[in-house]
Symmetry: C2
Subunit: 383 residues, 2 copies
């Protein structure tokens, strides 16, 4: 198992790992360098499903300053039957006003024409610098070129086209019970020169009757349970497409395992990160309370610095917990309610547990450490 | 003016700055090194007002894991008539369970005996490491010694006794319209080896009929509007005592100016801080929205890193704003609504303004930058 390598992920039994360049049957992709990134790297890709009927779902950022591609998806796409997608890195097309919106729409329409699909059946996702106008000529040329490269083995090009300052490609192709899932993601750590975005594309030949019902809880337990620096992007998007060609349902737990492993790779690749941790808040009064406590601990720069410094500092965990529950009284919360030994360990995946003694709800959040490199990466002069 | 030096603070006209070692008339203080700090520095002090009737108010942390001294003040003191106080650094006596509570009570009672006051009229405040038992013998000896040093010029010893890793003493004595205010504070930046606390003591000979009504809004606009790392301490406490001996009310704006200048010194002395900024969210739908946006920007590690790196990165301000208003739609929020030029300036006090175009409420928050030193200070192994 080279993909499913975290001890926090439980893939279903009998799962096979295939070449991550291979898309799930029925899907094709192609990527090119069209010049949006300054370094000549692959920065634009097309993705298409050949099936007549595609069941899809898309989870988009709730950030109130959502970027143009997110707004186009929300307002101009049929998110339940997306057959194709166009994506670029190098420019997030966020905070670009009306012009940016029209550029995103034009890009989406150009992709739909190249893929021979109705425009509402094509999604758009963008990542990179914000506040800069999109080079639409480069995008159009890129779309034409990428359409000529569409291939069932194009997942690698798609995975490459979405990277920004990620340290490496994040992708997998896995099979169980005769159903294949391929997926490509990029990191969420906010980045120089502006900030980056979480993107994830998932393709399957499984039969998915209610894609939203499959995707939403999986995202809630994975990408929505990670934090690098507590910042939410303007452009986050996760797309699930199912062709149904395998004529079998998704194996139980496979999609969740794929999403969680990819989410953990995103955390591990957070800016400057050297270690990751899972914090579990147990015995909370209800789930909202458990989540609030786990998030407060995961986002505490003090706890994150302790994770970096291998300091089993349970006092910082007590303090963050008390802050999450401000106005309440935790009374005798002492060191015996907190297992912070994972902070002090040398393990790349550290466990932290806090028992609140207030009920039986629990929640988990995954986070990266705060390192001098994070500050260095984010403080360099850029504009 | 050496105390009122921030351009964001407006002291009333005609204010005089006196020697900060001098307490407001009618107050005495004394401090000693009793051994709670390993370095032999002053670490325990007593404060007393000689007036028969003292009007007081105390603002305490809302952290649900409040330390023992906070719990003793809440449960065992008459916060409206506090004549005396005992304070130590070196040990916060937080997360110390029942034993810690009884130690805090014993310390408070010993101070009351030394000051010849009823115990409920004596406040206690503690700061330093958490989760360690208090050396009550050292404390008792310190109280006896400090009682022998009580002096009208003891404000410096009191100011010294509360410092932890602060870079210097934070205190003032100011006079206007025949009324004197003296005040001593310590920093809120979370610190090695565990975390520190905001403490502030304010004495005046002014007549204050409703101390809570004077103190609460002043704290809300100062200490509650600053952030070093978004973390709330278990031990924060602000105490106002008024003897009324001057037989005049507080000059309008003087207490607020003292609290804000001290709060800004706390921010400027935040861990590793090299610059501070004020972010003002304008044109919000209501005050809660304005405050949420200003806090999200002030707590964003990306914005804080930009402040350090002198990067006028307005995209990060747009992103933090959108996160604060998640689920809403800011539509065309572009660079023209955001003045981030202060981030790029070389000034020690930078201004940031965002106009939301949603109403006429506004709010301000003050914050420090995120520097490599912050990470270094907080990641060293300590337990």
């Amino acid at each position: 198992m080279t993909f499913f390598r975290s001890r926090w992920v439980d893939p279903p039994p009998g799962v096979q790992e295939l070449d991550a360049a291979e898309l799930a049957p029925g899907f094709r992709a192609g990527g090119v360098a069209c010049g949006l990134r300054g370094d000549g790297a692959t920065d634009l890709a097309l993705l298409a499903c050949d099936a007549d009927h595609v069941a899809s779902a898309m989870v988009l950022t709730s950030n109130a300053a959502a970027g143009a591609p997110v707004r186009v998806c929300r307002e101009r796409c049929d998110l339940t039957s997306l057959a194709g997608a166009v994506v670029n890195s190098g420019n997030a097309n966020a905070a670009t006003g009306e012009v940016g919106y029209h550029d995103a729409l034009a890009m989406r329409d150009a992709a739909a024409a190249a893929l021979d699909l109705e425009p509402p059946r094509v999604a758009i996702a963008q990542t990179g610098v914000i506040g800069f106008p999109l080079d639409l000529d480069a995008v159009r040329n890129g779309i034409t070129a990428a359409a000529g490269r569409l291939s069932p083995r194009g997942a690698g090009e798609l995975a490459d086209a979405i990277l920004t300052t990620d340290r490496g490609r994040k992708a997998c192709t896995v099979r169980a019970d005769g159903v294949t899932i391929s997926a490509q993601a990029k990191g969420a750590g906010m980045m120089q020169p502006n900030f980056a975005t979480l993107l994830c594309f998932v393709q399957t030949d499984g039969r998915v009757d209610d894609p939203q019902a499959e995707l939403r809880p999986g995202v809630a337990d994975s990408f929505e349970r990670i934090t690098v620096d507590g910042q939410q992007s303007t452009n986050d998007a996760v797309l699930l497409q199912a062709s149904g060609a395998a004529e079998r349902p998704l194996p139980a737990g496979l999609l969740d395992a794929v999403l969680l492993q990819l989410a953990l790779e995103v955390v591990a690749d957070g800016e400057g990160a050297s270690r990751i941790a899972r914090v579990e808040a147990r015995e909370a009064a209800d789930e909202a309370e458990a989540e609030a406590v786990a998030r407060a601990i995961a986002n505490s720069p003090l706890v994150k610095a302790s994770l970096y410094g291998r300091d089993p500092n349970w006092g910082r965990i007590a303090q963050a917990t008390g802050m999450a529950l401000a106005g309440e009284d935790l009374g005798e919360l002492g060191g015996d309610a907190i297992d912070a030994s994972g902070l002090g360990s040398g393990e790349p995946e550290a466990d932290i547990v806090i028992r609140l003694g207030r009920g039986d709800a629990s929640a988990q959040v995954y986070f990266s450490d705060l390192t001098p490199d994070y500050v260095k990466l984010n403080s360099e002069y850029t504009t």
